[in-house]
């Protein structure tokens, strides 16, 4: 958010004022406090506040009267009424008199955060309108690096699609920056005041995925003391990012389609229908259309998700980006490790530009990080990029030869402790014994 929003807290109870004051400072707002309606009015005369939060019951002038007085001078003031004892009558009165919202103390932390985001959104959007700002410029994309026409084209598509509410599928090999692009879309959309919630579908089993996505009700099963929000609920007013969408089961595909169509669902163990207003962005490194043709991905879901498709080309198709990415990652990791920035040898850079990067930008990033760790602190040299050297050698090695070397290395690492070595290799002990026999390994050989 570009502008600091200012808040005035009006409450006669010091502990409430202090708690709210701290909360807002930590959240990046500028905040002030008043202990009575009268002193609030005096403060409002000399300073403009974007949001005013006031208690109802205070000695002297009460919160409802304060609301009416402020509204009389400043019609569009955003005033939130807080009360310890909500009654329908006062709530109706407050809203009639123009309160932005009416809330009961104490708040659920998440409700307070949502309330303030809502109010902030109203302020920011009003501001944008008065400035007649058109979405001509992308913001919050400083971390997307690249000079190539390919990446510029991707950013153009991001800009076009961001302001719409359409579902988007981002395709590209692993490590090409799909999540980064999803964030950029969200950050440039009118939903940016609310969260972008990510789900890594591939990492979750089917039953876990269900509870992750939909949440569960208090008491849904033994030990469920608290209600748990699912990702769809967390993404209310925001965006949900479903990574590795191709990995979900057919059953989940049906569930997902239903939620996308109705924008409503039930928490596990619940009977109340919950609605959530979210936008969907998906990512995959697979050819979904082909999966549809093979009957492994539902066609109806495919069409619902695939309203807009953004393809990110692999790094080897946009080698112009490599030098700027290298500079970017050097800066990033030298800062993170509190080191002076290093340079890169000409030869090392051209080696990188010759390389194919099957792991794309993520692989390049890891390589640079590692090179800074092992390097001489001044310059990245070819020998600091051993992955490159190894791949060119090992590319001619057979799988068997690679296995032989790897198993041997792991055995030595664990001092021939078979259980631990087997665990590290993710095989059972019998399999490991067979490999030892097959390759004729002996301890200390």
């Amino acid at each position: 958010m570009n502008k600091k929003i200012s808040l005035l807290i009006v409450d006669d109870e010091e502990s409430v004022r202090d708690s709210l004051y701290n909360w807002f400072l930590e959240d990046g707002f500028s905040a002030a406090c008043a202990d009575s309606a009268a002193s609030a009015l005096a403060m409002i005369e000399s300073k403009n506040f974007d949001i005013i939060l006031t208690d109802i019951k205070m000695p002297g002038m009460d919160g409802l009267e304060l609301l009416r007085r402020i509204k009389a001078i400043k019609k569009d003031a955003i005033i939130i009424i807080m009360t310890a004892f909500a009654t329908v009558d006062t709530a109706v009165q407050a809203l009639k008199d123009g309160a932005f919202d009416y809330v009961t103390k104490p708040f659920d932390p998440d409700d307070l955060s949502h309330l303030i985001r809502n109010a902030s959104r109203q302020i920011m959007l009003a501001e944008e309108n008065t400035q007649l700002r058109e979405h001509l410029k992308l913001e919050n994309v400083d971390d997307i690096i690249g000079n190539s026409t390919e990446i510029k084209q991707v950013l153009e598509e991001v800009q076009k699609v961001a302001v719409t509410n359409s579902s988007v599928i981002i395709t590209g090999e692993s490590g090409t920056g799909k999540e980064l692009i999803a964030r950029a879309i969200h950050a440039n959309s009118p939903r940016r005041f609310f969260p972008l919630v990510s789900v890594h579908c591939g990492a979750l089993s089917e039953s876990l995925l269900e509870s992750e996505l939909f949440g569960h009700e208090k008491g849904a099963f033994t030990g469920a003391i608290y209600t748990r929000k699912g990702r769809f609920e967390m993404a209310d007013n925001g965006t949900i990012f479903l990574d590795e969408i191709a990995t979900i089961s057919i059953k989940m595909q049906i569930e997902l389609l239903r939620v996308l169509e109705t924008k409503s669902f039930m928490r596990v163990g619940g009977s109340k229908l919950i609605t959530s207003d979210f936008r969907v962005i998906c990512a995959t490194n697979r050819d979904l259309k082909q999966m549809v043709d093979e009957g492994r991905f539902r066609e109806d879901l495919y069409y619902r998700l695939n309203v807009v498709n953004i393809r990110i080309p692999p790094l080897r198709e946009r080698k112009d980006d490599i030098p700027v990415l290298v500079q970017h990652f050097i800066r990033k990791y030298c800062t993170a490790m509190s080191r002076n920035p290093v340079s890169i040898e000409e030869g090392a850079l051209s080696k990188l530009q010759e390389y194919d990067f099957p792991g794309n930008v993520r692989e390049l990033e890891n390589m640079i990080e590692r090179a800074i760790v092992v390097g001489n602190g001044k310059e990245i040299r070819i020998k600091d990029l051993p992955l490159l050297k190894e791949t060119s050698q090992t590319l001619t090695e057979s799988l068997e030869e690679l296995e032989r070397k790897h198993v041997k290395a792991v055995l030595e690492k664990y001092d021939w402790n078979i259980s631990r070595a087997a665990k590290a290799l993710q095989v059972d002990r019998v399999t490991l014994y067979n490999k030892i026999k097959k390759y004729g390994f002996k301890e200390n050989s």
């Binding site: 502990s15 409430v16 708690s19 930590e26 103390k105 998440d110 307070l112 748990r228 800062t335």
Partner: protein
């Protein structure tokens, strides 16, 4: 920042192993020496009978009254349900730019939400919570960079969405503010 010391005061009966893991995570994030100290405190004094929770404001004030001769920052580690008057619960809180913070593991376990116990996940969440509150002690405010530990988290799934680390931006602010 060579001689920064952060003290972790264990009021939650957490195990040594978990605490030393925590210390490693805190130490590397804030480039500081971390000391773990056992704390003794009668929490009854801070129990609110109506809310059946412990008053986080009062506990933080108590922690902050400690003599700060041998450390720069102090985090009290608890295992009880904390609240502040205006919120139904908190995971922890800190004095912004101050020297003290508190964090509780109470609402960070899977069991509390009816899910299978996951010790590693609990430790990860606790580290994130402690680093977050320490970030506030170092003057950092909430950050909107996805993955940054200074993102605001209002429920436990929120915590899972972020890393235990400061983003580049927050790290720069941390360095600037604590030179």
């Amino acid at each position: 920042m060579a001689d920064m010391t952060i003290k972790l005061l264990n009021y939650g009966y957490f195990e040594k192993k978990m605490l030393s893991e925590l210390a490693v995570g805190v130490s590397s994030e804030f480039e500081a020496e971390v000391k773990i100290v056992e704390g003794y405190l009668d929490l009854n004094a801070y129990f609110d009978a109506v809310r059946k929770q412990y008053n986080g404001n009062q506990i933080l004030r108590y922690i902050d009254s400690h003599d700060a001769a041998d450390y720069q920052k102090l985090v009290g580690l608890f295992n009880v349900d904390l609240f502040i008057p205006i919120l139904t619960y908190i995971f922890g809180q800190a004095y912004l730019g101050g020297k003290s913070a508190i964090a509780s593991g109470y609402r960070l376990t899977n069991e509390r939400y009816g899910l299978t116990k996951n010790e590693a996940l609990f430790h990860a969440r606790f580290l994130k919570e402690v680093n977050h509150e320490l970030g506030h002690c170092f003057g950092l405010i909430h950050c909107h960079n996805p993955g940054c530990v200074m993102q605001s988290s209002t429920y436990v799934e929120d915590i899972d969405q972020k890393s235990p680390h400061l983003c580049g931006n927050c790290r720069n602010l941390f360095h600037e503010g604590n030179r």
